[in-house]
């Protein structure tokens, strides 16, 4: 198929599909009414289980099975990335050279790292109360570690990031979610049923299973993202491709101006 025929066909077909979409959108219920069939039911259900953050109640209680699947999509994606970005037989490792770092950048990183860890842990731990939770907090936690890369260099990052431990934690977090669901079965209720004591509304220890599932997701997401970024960093920094014969790639520049 030549380019012009392809473009013409695509545009014609996209035009038809777009036309149908517009026709469908005009038949949607009007925007801004007070009619929220699922929202009303979900909020009532989250209050019933004393979970102040209704979004978390939907994600980790009412539709916890979806989140189980989504958590394992991330787990599978990380595992797939580990498999696809593994060092091939024809690739060599080259030790990255350290680059210079401004003292102010170093200081900034050193100060920000504990703050970021704290914020990440807070977001995970308060998922049942306020916006946030395991997915969001986990990403913040993973970011914290990579301040070491921005503010120091790749070798420092490698020292503070024992990959084997994080890869194991990734599996522990993911596995914990699927096993926490069995608590329901043990209490002769349904899988992933919120059978733990629900606590007091708006307390840190409220929501029953929700904070535990949040913690499991937090561990999984934080370690998963760290492992994922490590694979890509390895490709960019550490592994010498056979197609790049000019030797080891350049060391990471701490200013990050080369787009890494």
């Amino acid at each position: 198929m030549n380019r012009r025929a392809r473009t013409a066909m695509f545009l014609a077909a996209a035009g038809v599909t777009g036309g149908f979409l517009v026709a469908a959108f005009t038949q949607l219920p009007p925007f801004g009414t007070k009619d929220h069939p699922y929202g009303t039911r979900a909020v009532a259900a989250s209050l019933q289980h004393r979970t102040a953050n209704a979004v978390s109640a939907v994600n980790f209680d009412q539709r916890a099975l979806d989140t189980l699947g989504e958590e394992f999509i991330l787990f599978g994606a990380v595992l797939g990335a580990v498999a696809l970005l593994r060092r091939a037989r024809d690739e060599d490792r080259a030790a990255p050279q350290p680059g210079g770092v401004l003292p102010s950048t170093r200081l900034f990183g050193a100060c920000l790292l504990p703050v970021t860890v704290l914020v990440g842990a807070y977001v995970v731990a308060h998922g049942q109360l306020s916006p946030g939770g395991g997915f969001q907090g986990g990403v913040v936690l993973a970011t914290a570690l990579h301040l070491a890369y921005v503010a120091a260099d790749y070798r420092v990052l490698r020292r503070v990031r024992p990959l084997a431990v994080f890869a194991a934690l990734d599996a522990v977090g993911a596995g914990a979610y699927s096993l926490l669901g069995l608590a329901g079965l043990c209490a002769s209720a349904a899988y992933l049923q919120n059978v733990l004591p629900l606590g007091t509304f708006n307390d840190l220890a409220s929501g029953g299973l929700v904070p535990l599932l949040n913690a499991a997701v937090g561990v999984e997401v934080a370690s998963g993202v760290i492992v994922l970024i490590a694979q890509f960093l390895d490709q960019a920094v550490d592994i010498a491709s056979p197609h790049r014969p000019e030797g080891g790639p350049k060391a990471p520049d701490s200013t990050g101006e080369d787009g890494r």
């Binding site: 198929m1 392809r6 066909m9 695509f10 014609a12 077909a13 996209a14 038809v16 599909t17 149908f20 026709a23 469908a24 038949q27 949607l28 219920p29 069939p37 699922y38 039911r41 979900a42 939907v58 209680d61 009412q62 539709r63 916890a64 099975l65 979806d66 189980l68 699947g69 394992f72 999509i73 787990f75 599978g76 994606a77 595992l79 797939g80 990335a81 498999a83 696809l84 970005l85 593994r86 060092r87 091939a88 037989r89 084997a164 890869a167 194991a168 599996a171 522990v172 993911a174 596995g175 699927s178 669901g181 329901g184 079965l185 002769s188 209720a189 349904a190 899988y191 992933l192 919120n194």
Partner: protein, 619 residues
């Protein structure tokens, strides 16, 4: 012992937990121990699904995850619904995953230290995605498991990183499937906006309050998009041969054996549950559209299959041909059609997985899957050759294989709607089975003349493939021929053991019962089933048609191998005609399979537009 309803989410949870355990175990245990652990886990899953199959009986198991049961027709939770067709499909998945795990015990080279569990863990995640998809009764939940299945499948397709081709195939697969998945999410969003529900049964019930308008038609086509892409219906099929050509053989066994079939299942499950009632898509419109799509898919798959010399692409196109037959059969919406397709799919899973497994033996020994390049080189693999021939015969519909029984039941049912439909079944079976027999004769027996490329040979040949194993000196592991043999025996058992047909017949009746599904989920009294139990016994016509398609396949293969047209002047006319068809019809069709992602996305859009117009015109 927990109740059956409480056990229903476990086929999802068990392999998920298993994947996490295997990643951990892969760091600590040697490879053999990891493989044994993975196989034991797959066996546990199979046992669990057997228990569920036995307990489900002819009814449905309704399980509300998290205990959020339905009140006044509404729930905030997710419902899993297991009937024998869904549980049976999950059981088929688990059996094939166990077979694939055993097959690949010593298949790959030693994985990098500490990553011994990666491949089996990915397989278990794949299994969880497929089982979840087969058991869920919730549209969004189906999308989640569909994505889980997809993400893992993309990674598994690109698993051999030494070669750039697998990454290209995986990328094509990933982009086309993801685009379709976004369409589906948009469709689910439209349905949710109209009904305020995500459960399939609740959505189906709520649609009854509206008339069929542009929103319903658009939502239907969008939701169907990902199912049709997964099931490789023309023109959504382009990713499949490219992905199968490059994926590791054990992964091909699963993708062709059950993953594609899950797309077919999803198409019907979603139509029957959500759209089959009032306010949905009229049955006549669905039947006409899907039947045309199925017939087109069947013909394209069969013709393309015959043209291939790359063995994995050949088998992949044969899957497309058979998918077309199933879509065609299922579009007729009666229990006997569903029973035929279900039997056909069960038998086909064993046969196709076995054929892929045997192709893996060739790849292992000779580093090639090119029918021409391998000419006569398989002579020393007697067992593999005999099994390959048996697989070809089963694919062509030789009684008493399960494929033949499924084909016979489907043909009998289809003939009631249109007398010429069985001819299509015979043609597709003969072409796909004939192509496999032709390859077997050449590769394993060195029969006939050394083949030469035809005019239309524009696709990849499959020579110079990276062997998927590193040590060419070692003998082929016994498991690599034992597993295909067992799978073929399984396909034989489906046809011989009458219990399978009877169970699937009654499962098909339950599957097609829209009102019963809605009533079971909503906890109201289900109306009694009035449709008759479909007959799944062998009939004389069925056996004769099976023998006919097998004989046709054998004749086609023999003609291709021994080329009688070169010896007899009378055959010259046929040769001229074949050359004309090759140039005028086959070459343009093969050129469409260009491997270019842009082309494939264009075809996806064209397919969507065509479906939208076709359905809108009929409602």
């Amino acid at each position: 012992m927990p109740s059956t309803a409480d056990l229903l989410p476990l086929p999802v949870a068990v392999p998920l937990a298993g994947a996490a355990v295997l990643v951990l175990a892969g760091r600590l245990l040697p490879r053999t121990a990891t493989d044994i652990l993975a196989t034991a886990w797959a066996a546990l899953e199979t046992a669990l699904l057997c228990l569920l199959w036995a307990r489900a009986g002819d009814g449905r198991v309704v399980s509300w995850a998290g205990g959020w049961t339905i009140h006044d027709g509404h729930s905030v939770g997710i419902v899993l619904v297991g009937d024998r067709l869904g549980i049976g499909l999950a059981l088929l998945v688990s059996v094939l995953v166990a077979a694939v795990l055993v097959y690949s015990w010593r298949y790959f080279e030693e994985p990098p230290a500490g990553h011994g569990g990666t491949f089996p863990a990915l397989l278990l995640l794949f299994e969880a995605g497929m089982c979840g998809f087969a058991l869920t009764g919730d549209l969004f939940d189906a999308f989640v498991f569909f994505e889980l299945m997809g993400v893992v499948a993309y990674a598994l397709t690109g698993y051999r990183i030494e070669d750039p081709r697998p990454l290209h195939g995986a990328l094509t697969f990933g982009v086309v499937n993801s685009l379709a998945a976004y369409c589906s999410l948009l469709g689910i969003g439209l349905l949710y906006a109209r009904t305020g529900e995500l459960g399939m049964a609740q959505t189906g019930a709520a649609l009854a309050g509206h008339r069929t308008d542009a929103l319903v038609v658009t939502a239907f086509v969008l939701v169907m998009a990902s199912m049709l892409v997964k099931s490789a219906a023309v023109p959504f099929h382009f990713w499949l041969p490219d992905a199968h050509a490059v994926a590791p053989t054990p992964v091909c066994m699963l993708m062709s054996g059950v993953m594609v079939e899950l797309g077919v299942y999803g198409t019907l499950r979603i139509y029957l549950t959500v759209f089959a009632g009032p306010g949905g898509v009229p049955a006549a419109a669905f039947t006409h559209t899907l039947a045309v799509l199925g017939a087109l898919t069947a013909l394209t798959g069969a013709v393309m299959c015959w043209q291939q010399r790359h063995l994995k692409r050949l088998l992949a196109f044969s899957t497309i041909g058979h998918v077309g037959l199933w879509l065609l059969g299922l579009s007729l919406l009666r229990p006997q059609d569903t029973a035929g397709a279900a039997l056909y799919i069960t038998g086909h899973a064993g046969v196709k997985a076995a054929l892929f497994g045997l192709t893996g033996v060739l790849l292992d020994r000779h580093g090639s899957v090119d029918e021409y390049g391998l000419f006569g080189r398989g002579r020393d693999s007697r067992a593999a050759g005999a099994l390959f021939v048996a697989g070809g015969l089963a694919l062509a519909g030789l009684p008493p294989f399960g494929t033949a029984l499924g084909k016979a039941v489907a043909e009998h049912a289809a003939a009631e709607r249109a007398g010429w439909l069985p001819a299509l079944y015979v043609l597709v079976s003969a072409l796909t089975g004939g192509a496999v027999l032709r390859a077997a004769l050449r590769v394993f027996y060195g029969a006939g003349v050394v083949p030469e490329p035809s005019h239309s040979d524009v696709e990849t040949s499959g020579d110079a493939e990276e062997p998927e194993v590193r040590d060419p000196q070692r003998p082929v592991p016994r498991t690599m021929t034992a597993v295909p043999a067992l799978l073929l025996l399984g396909a034989l058992a489906v046809g011989v053991w009458p219990g399978v047909g009877r169970a699937l017949g009654s499962a098909a009746r339950t599957f097609g019962d829209h009102a019963g599904y809605l009533a079971d989920v909503q906890g109201t009294a289900a109306p009694a089933l009035t449709t008759a139990l479909p007959s799944t016994d062998w009939t004389l016509t069925g056996v004769l048609l099976g023998v006919l398609s097998t004989a046709l396949a054998a004749v086609l293969a023999a003609c291709a191998v021994w080329r009688p047209d070169r010896r007899f002047a009378a055959a010259r006319g046929a040769r001229t005609l074949a050359a004309w068809g090759d140039r005028r019809l086959v070459l343009p069709l093969r050129r469409l399979h260009s491997g270019l992602l842009g082309d494939y996305v264009t075809w996806l859009t064209v397919g969507l537009a065509a479906l939208l117009i076709a359905l809108a015109a009929q409602t």
